[in-house]
């Protein structure tokens, strides 16, 4: 191992990787929930919900993830007067608790970035699920309705599971993309993987070596995540992962 790669530096990078993994897991789970809700609402029977879901999907798919991250983390606190800002976003029981759990000094930024990513990925997942639902034969919906389930329940309990299997490769792609997008949190001072590498570069000046290492870290994470999701897909009996990169 080269001399500049000290144990201390290494443990910083591992800590960054942990934050990246944590951000990925929490934002992915939330994104799946948002995406599921929005896909069902958009095709559901309630006009009000349909409109809200549509608005949600359009806004969060068409605004870059980076802008969302910066907006949530940096701009939103500015909506509040200065004297209130500190207590509301940076110094209260909740942020203290989050600090203790995550080990982050300013958990608001991580929380905001996580939420921005979840909204963004959720919008994309909603659209993926919707096209998955469109690929399910209508006879399924008819069959379920004739058994007495209403439209929304049929959609949720009968059509959606089939749609998830059809759309699984695209869902998996999007979740891996979400993992890569957590690197955007480095713009708002979240000590995730890329941020840790930036810190390491300023301390050691080994920019090219460290950046190659950063790329390798992410490559390992995305390869492992793809493999893990493939396993899940196989258990679900999903279509073979040979997906198109769903934007």
């Amino acid at each position: 191992m080269p001399g500049w790669l000290t144990g201390e530096l290494w443990s910083d990078l591992i800590a960054g990787a942990m934050v990246t993994i944590g951000l990925t897991i929490v934002s992915s789970v939330l994104a799946l929930a948002f995406g599921r809700w929005a896909a069902l609402a958009r095709l559901g029977s309630r006009p009000g919900r349909r409109r809200i879901a549509r608005l949600y999907v359009e806004v969060f798919r068409n605004v870059p993830a980076l802008i969302l991250v910066i907006f949530f983390a940096f701009a939103v606190p500015n909506l509040v007067p200065v004297d209130l800002r500190k207590t509301l976003f940076f110094d209260n029981v909740l942020t203290d608790a989050l600090s203790t759990v995550t080990g982050l000094i300013l958990p608001w930024y991580a929380f905001a970035a996580m939420l921005a990513l979840a909204f963004n990925t959720g919008g994309h997942l909603a659209e993926i699920l919707r096209s998955g639902i469109a690929a399910v034969p209508t006879s399924r919906l008819d069959a379920s309705r004739s058994l007495g389930l209403d439209h929304d329940a049929s959609l949720r309990n009968v059509v959606l599971p089939a749609a998830v299997r059809v759309a699984f490769p695209a869902i998996s792609n999007r979740l891996v993309h979400n993992m890569k997008n957590t690197s955007l949190a480095s713009f708002v001072a979240v000590p995730e993987l890329f941020n840790a590498f930036q810190g390491a570069i300023t301390r050691t000046f080994q920019a090219s070596e460290l950046l190659v290492l950063a790329a390798l870290f992410y490559l390992v994470l995305s390869t492992a995540m793809t493999a893990g999701l493939d396993l899940v897909g196989r258990r679900l009996g999903a279509a073979a992962t040979h997906g198109v990169g769903h934007g």
Partner: protein
């Protein structure tokens, strides 16, 4: 409120076309950069896509590796990595500007994603078509050019265009190199004065709105194109108030 509006109107030209003397910049530069990267990147993507589906291992293996590596690393990391190598003249003594590095990275990035779309398109071409042509004694290269490529590209046109819109949104990440694009200019305008903090929300809403407008308009155009081509193709489950499921 008046102050907010005044500030936003003041920076609008900088966001749209760039700061005086640094034009093209802002949204215009984001669009130009995206279009230029896509022009080269999509061409490369077609080559890589065919490479990925090649029967020759010597072509298939490197094509797949390139695509997998580029897709496995966040754009943010790619940008900084590539700029560190080519921006400092570490490769071949050629030193690129930040804008050139951004162009190069976005080109490679879009090539990898478009390659996957093209490869999926190639796989969608019915093998019987190829078999028939082979039976007639047509050479592989000729088949690829006259049968596979036109069919694959036509099938995948909506997906290629959707991916292109993604590249536009992702181009916001070039802010890390400070390339006078829309996101960079918003940052510069806000950082010009410490008293600008009240304008963060408005500015990022405006920036998000500008990205939204371009991306949404482009998406609508793509959708219309897709609707024309996919007329009477597949069954779609509609919400109950729209013409309910037929057959």
């Amino acid at each position: 409120m008046g102050e907010q509006l005044e500030f936003l109107v003041g920076i609008l030209p900088d966001l749209l076309v760039g700061f005086p003397g640094r034009r093209p910049g802002g949204l215009l530069l984001s669009i130009l950069l995206t279009l230029a990267s896509l022009a080269v990147g999509t061409t490369l993507g077609v080559v890589l896509g065919f490479g990925q589906e090649s029967r020759l291992w010597a072509i298939r293996a490197p094509s797949r590796s390139i695509v997998q590596v580029v897709r496995g690393v966040p754009l943010l990391v790619l940008l900084v990595l590539i700029h560190t190598f080519v921006g400092a003249g570490r490769i071949g003594g050629v030193s690129t500007s930040a804008l050139q590095s951004a162009f190069l990275t976005l080109t490679i990035y879009s090539a990898a994603y478009q390659a996957d779309v093209v490869a999926a398109g190639i796989r969608s071409v019915p093998t019987t078509w190829i078999d028939h042509a082979l039976l007639l004694g047509t050479r592989r290269l000729h088949i690829n050019r006259t049968i596979v490529a036109p069919k694959a590209l036509r099938t995948m046109r909506p997906a290629l265009l959707t991916q292109a819109i993604t590249v536009f949104k992702d181009s916001s990440v070039v802010v890390v190199l400070g390339v006078a694009d829309l996101t960079t200019n918003a940052r510069i305008a806000l950082a010009a004065d410490v008293d600008n903090t009240p304008f963060w929300v408005g500015t990022y809403l405006l920036v998000g709105g500008l990205y939204f407008m371009v991306a949404r308009t482009a998406a609508l155009l793509v959708e219309r194109l897709g609707d024309d081509e996919l007329n009477n193709f597949g069954t779609v489950i509609n919400s109950p108030d729209q013409s309910t499921v037929g057959h």
